[in-house]
């Protein structure tokens, strides 16, 4: 399988569920993982493109989280908890036997294709020792039962979880579920996000250690925030911003910090060169100048 136009459309749909598009990055990475079976370079490029981020930014996120795999998993991921409670119940031996059964490696592409990993506490310590197949829980398992699970997964026939009663779906199917794309309340969430983006002071695109709302014009190109921002400025150069926006801007200027005044100046000021430089022409996609020192280093 490979990333297709459908993947792109679904990623765009996920972005619209949040008032600021970037919030959809984790769900989108689950989505691309559901297509390729791991977070491929192509998948990261798609996420970057859809959200208006650099690939470096997406890579920095994708490599931070344990559940995003950078090599193909196969159909089943087996995770063995080796935290103390599971360890003293025999989990360490299970994990070591798993690696041995995969020829000393963590992936075994033969048969259905499996990957084995040791995990930190899986939050089900009353069932120690615990093994997960594609995040479906099994426990407590004896050593033999645990080996049976591995063999069943390799044969493509994992049994139902003794906890949830569910037979684990394939890795890609489970990752699709985790993306939330099929959660069934899409329209409601898009409407909610749109309303928030249109609030008197909309959610900020860049946050962190600043108290400024929307810290750079044209931010959030693919989300509602971008749309709301563009609508507020969708007037010929030189004419004043929409009344509601004007209020926000004045309030902002009144906060007194240098950056706030500077931003307010950019928006209301007579210096037409500044807004032109950062505001997109009406029919062109907005540019995304980076004001975040982190991004600057990533792009450098």
């Amino acid at each position: 399988m490979a990333i297709t136009e459908t993947t792109r459309e679904e990623a765009q749909a996920l972005a619209l569920r949040y008032p600021v598009a970037r919030a959809a990055l984790l769900p989108i990475l689950h989505l691309v993982q559901s297509v390729d079976g791991y977070v491929s370079d192509e998948g990261m490029a798609l996420a970057a493109e859809v959200l208006g981020l650099t690939r470096a930014e997406v890579g920095a996120v994708a490599t931070f989280y344990t559940m995003y795999k950078r090599e193909p998993v196969g159909n089943y991921l087996l995770s063995v908890c080796t935290n103390p409670t599971c360890k003293i119940a025999g989990a360490q031996a299970i994990y070591e036997a798993y690696v041995e059964a995969c020829g000393g490696r963590h992936v075994d592409p033969d048969g259905a294709g499996v990957m084995v990993e040791h995990a930190e506490c899986l939050g089900i310590c009353d069932a120690a020792p615990v093994v997960q197949i594609n995040y479906e829980m099994y426990g407590p398992v004896t050593h033999d039962e645990a080996m049976g699970l591995l063999n069943a997964a390799k044969a493509g026939e994992p049994p139902a979880s003794n906890r949830s009663g569910h037979v684990p779906a394939t890795f890609t199917a489970v990752e699709r579920e985790f993306s939330g794309i099929d959660d069934g309340v899409h329209d409601q969430l898009v409407e909610a996000a749109r309303l928030q983006a249109a609030a008197a002071v909309p959610p900020a695109y860049r946050t962190g250690e600043t108290d400024l709302p929307v810290t750079h014009p044209g931010g959030d190109p693919s989300g509602h925030g971008g749309a709301a921002f563009r609508a507020a400025f969708d007037t010929p150069p030189g004419s004043p911003p929409a009344p509601q926006e004007q209020e926000v801007v004045e309030e902002l200027a009144a906060t007194g910090t240098d950056t706030a005044q500077e931003l307010a100046q950019q928006v209301t000021g007579d210096d037409a060169a500044t807004p032109d430089a950062v505001l997109p022409a009406a029919d062109q996609p907005p540019v995304v100048p980076s004001s975040d020192p982190d991004d600057a280093t990533e792009e450098a």
């Binding site: 984790l26 989280y65 009353d126 120690a128 985790f178 309303l195």
Partner: protein, 446 residues
């Protein structure tokens, strides 16, 4: 203090067949708390939560009502209520069962919280690995939208509340509330500098509260049954029932709901006593980040104040019980490796310290330790504790510092005999041959 022992309060629907389904939930008092909340002013709801004395169940025990009263109102920005369902503290397993068995309870709590805070959008930040909980919540949210509990017109009141289930991707640090917000915004989960606090500048720069699953789910109960009902359990400073996670070497590890103030020893009894009649040696009262305590502290009533007086923390309610057959040092090593792995890398003491602590501990268990290593461990911990950017760094030092306080003799045995007295690792090549008497040689799984 009120009555102690096992109670059935917040968990009372757990055994009802099919209660994850909206109709069954409605038959069992479901959305009654919400109905009551809709007849109250936001400030009245916050006041009721304050009066109940509910303290946050996510680890820090901060009073929930007080936290809600800090959320900035009238700024023109949207207000967000975020449920911390990242449950990752080793030993903790109370939020996941709640969401799997009774998901509407959490949804109802989120809506009530939304009303209290004038928030129209909630997020449930769910630990990625919780596949079944995600399935249950997604289905429950669909039902709640279909029946008008969620959406533009909550129960015909004209109030709006939307709820997004957001599945994360596996990083313990994302349980820390500001790291959670960064992660929810689509970034690496790294803690933020405070101030500004989330109450003024949280998700997307907007006023935000982050609360644990159990804290949020408690609120409809408090509204439905009243503050006195809640306060019939526990103490003045730690009122209410608590969802406990009892694990380790007990006969029946599991989820138990008890009144705060129940002693640790009574909880071990509740869980069927020590496994195979083993002898209690040490326990972690509230997860791996809370300092371990020796068996002699087992009579401590389980309240925030009493556990603190013993020098530890109540944490998340994750009581981990270990016997004389279990190596303290090896347990500490595994916990330390956990923190090393989960350090987000933002600040130096934790990022580097975790690595060095693991190295020293590993050297000790494999027979290469030196007596000076014990001071070295203490010294490194001293340089992490209070000097890290967030509480993960502090938590990393808890198992080490507390075990050195109570079980220094075990460390010394490892070092002196140049081997693991529990036989978990091959001894150093030049280790003397010894018969252990201080610790049973028969170790590991029996």
């Amino acid at each position: 203090m009120g009555t102690t022992g096992q109670v059935t309060a917040m968990s009372y629907r757990y055994d009802i067949d099919g209660v994850a389904d909206l109709e069954v939930y409605e038959q069992h008092d479901g959305y009654e708390g919400l109905r009551i909340a809709l007849g109250m002013e936001p400030a009245e709801i916050v006041q009721a939560v304050k009066d109940s004395g509910l303290r946050g169940r996510g680890g820090a025990g901060f009073p929930t009502g007080l936290k809600w009263s800090f959320v900035a109102q009238g700024t023109g920005k949207p207000i967000y209520i975020v449920c911390n369902a990242d449950e990752g503290e080793p030993g903790t397993f109370k939020d996941r069962p709640l969401m799997e068995l009774d998901p509407h309870q959490l949804i109802e709590g989120m809506i009530v919280g939304g009303l209290a805070l004038n928030s129209e959008q909630g997020y449930i930040y769910l630990r990625g690995e919780f596949a079944h909980a995600g399935r249950q919540l997604a289905a429950a949210i669909r039902q709640a939208y279909a029946k008008g509990y969620l959406g533009a017109d909550v129960m015909g009141s004209g109030r709006r509340f939307d709820l997004t289930l957001h599945r994360a991707a596996g990083a313990y640090i994302c349980g820390e509330e500001t790291a959670l917000l960064d992660s929810l915004e689509g970034r690496r989960g790294q803690p933020r500098l405070r101030p500004p606090f989330p109450a003024a500048h949280g998700l997307f720069g907007c006023p935000t509260t982050v609360n644990n699953v159990e804290s949020i789910a408690a609120v409809p109960f408090i509204l439905r049954h009243g503050v006195d009902w809640w306060r019939q359990w526990g103490t003045d400073k730690s009122p209410g029932p608590k969802l406990m996670c009892i694990s380790g070497e007990v006969e029946r590890p599991g989820n138990y709901e008890v009144a705060l103030g129940t002693t640790v020893a009574d909880m071990i009894e509740l869980a069927g006593g020590m496994k195979d009649g083993r002898e209690l040696r040490f326990f972690c009262p509230g997860g791996s980040s809370t300092p371990m305590l020796p068996a002699s502290a087992a009579d401590t009533p389980y309240t925030f104040e009493d556990i603190a007086a013993e020098g530890s923390l109540l944490g998340t309610g994750a009581l981990m019980i270990y016997s004389t057959q279990t190596s303290v040092v090896d347990t500490v090593l595994r916990f330390t490796e956990f923190y090393e792995h989960e350090s987000c890398g933002k600040c130096t003491p934790c990022r580097e310290g975790g690595y060095w602590l693991s190295q020293v501990l590993r050297r000790i268990v494999t027979g290469g330790g030196r007596m000076e290593d014990l001071e070295l461990l203490e010294d490194v911990c001293d340089n992490i504790f209070g000097r890290s950017f967030c509480a993960l760094g502090d938590g990393m030092t808890s198992p080490i510092v507390s075990s050195l306080k109570y079980f220094r003799d075990e460390y010394e045995t490892y070092i002196r005999e140049r081997r693991c007295p529990f036989g978990l690792y091959p001894p150093a090549p030049d280790a003397p041959t010894v018969e252990f008497t201080a610790f049973p040689a028969a170790a590991g799984p029996s």
